[in-house]
């Protein structure tokens, strides 16, 4: 795989949300608006890139039997670092995303990339892989956020284009499942046609 492919594969081919179905919880919970989806995606990417770099660097000296606990500790460290930075510099966003920031630790995407890619590849490739998958995740979250915001609040990135409320259900829990389900159908349709 070329360097460019490492970065672009996350958008369509290995899209973590629509193809691999990983990290569903934050995908559904934090996409009440486009901005929230985007922030959650970037937060996950931050952890993903850094943990990929560190794990690829230390993988050769980690004994096989304890590799999972070691990776989890590394990931948890970066998540906590992220928590502190967000609390300090973007407190409002930290409150909005709330519980889902510490829960990046158990996001299957992060541990999944560590297991599937970072422990077998070099530091640079792992960093690019982190960026690629992170961008794919951010992209899907933002799209889902945009769709839910348009339907639910009649606005995009906070800019209102209709007066009134929109279909509130899309901001609430049921709308998250429905919107993701239908987006997935659309995604399947489009990618099938391309092949």
């Amino acid at each position: 795989m070329s360097k460019l492919q490492l970065i672009t594969k996350g958008f369509i081919k290995d899209n973590p949300t629509f193809v691999l179905l990983l990290g569903m919880c934050p995908t559904l919970a934090t996409t009440t608006s486009a901005v929230n989806g985007l922030s959650m995606g970037l937060a996950t990417m931050f952890v993903l890139v850094l943990s990929n770099i560190v794990i690829s660097a230390i993988a050769p000296v980690v004994p096989d039997k304890v590799h999972i606990p070691v990776y989890i500790v590394v990931i948890a460290t970066f998540v906590t670092v992220l928590q502190f930075f967000m609390q300090a510099y973007t407190p409002a966003m930290y409150e909005t995303l709330g519980l889902f920031i510490p829960l990046i630790v158990v996001n299957c995407i992060v541990l999944g990339r560590a297991e599937a890619f970072a422990n077998k590849n070099g530091v640079l490739d792992s960093a690019l892989d982190g960026i690629g998958v992170g961008l794919g995740f951010t992209c899907s979250l933002t799209v889902l956020g945009i769709v839910r915001e348009i339907l639910g609040s009649g606005s995009v990135f906070g800019l209102k284009f209709i007066s009134g409320d929109g279909i509130l259900a899309f901001v609430m829990a049921p709308g998250a499942f429905l919107a993701l389900g239908y987006l997935m159908v659309l995604f399947n349709k489009i990618t099938k046609k391309n092949k």
Partner: protein, 192 residues
């Protein structure tokens, strides 16, 4: 690829990783502690400034009413107390609804501000920006009006389709008013 595991290298690696990670975290924690506190302080200061008339000095304290402890800030201008900003909360629709309630010395609510909430976006979350709801608190006099939503026989206009949020909001304000009474009672004792 990973090296073969034996007890010795497993223990060494795990211990080393945990030690390094904890020290990194301790470092970052120490580094960000100042900005985190500053951000929290700024948020409180902003809320106090919003709910009270102009002041130049605030002092934090706590008061106990009905077995619950309330944190409040007494604000003064040129040494004269202008009012109290009371932090108060109640259980809303999606969790705790925390308010900063500003009460001037004459016992009237000056303004209110939401500190944090878990209400539904588009419904209960309107308690932060729905003018018809938030404006009614300005100058609300609890000695004349009843602190309950109209549905329950009070004088508070509820947010459309969000009675539970409105009730919680009203309850939080009413708690703050009770706390205010305890504060003034306490101060009277101190002044005598």
């Amino acid at each position: 690829m990973a090296i073969k595991s034996n007890l010795k290298n497993m223990v060494i690696v795990l211990t080393a990783v945990c030690l390094i990670c904890s020290s990194v975290l301790a470092g970052v924690y120490a580094m960000t502690k100042e900005p985190i506190d500053a951000a929290a302080r700024e948020k409180t200061d902003k809320a106090i400034a919003l709910v009270l008339p102009a002041f130049d000095k605030t002092e934090a304290a706590t008061v106990e009413t009905d077995g619950k402890e309330y944190r409040y800030y007494s604000a003064s201008k040129d040494g004269e107390t202008v009012g109290y900003a009371v932090e108060s909360s109640a259980t809303g629709f999606g969790g705790t609804l925390s308010l900063m309630v500003g009460i001037t010395v004459d016992g009237k609510v000056y303004n209110t501000s939401v500190l944090s909430h878990g209400e539904t976006p588009g419904l209960g979350a309107k308690c932060t920006d729905d003018k018809a709801f938030t404006e009614q608190w300005k100058g609300f006099d609890p000695s004349v009006k009843t602190l309950a939503v109209k549905k329950d026989g009070g004088d508070v206009d509820a947010i459309t389709a969000s009675t539970i949020t409105s009730r919680a909001y009203t309850l939080a304000v009413s708690n703050a008013v009770d706390a205010f009474k305890s504060i003034t009672a306490q101060e009277d004792v101190n002044n005598e």
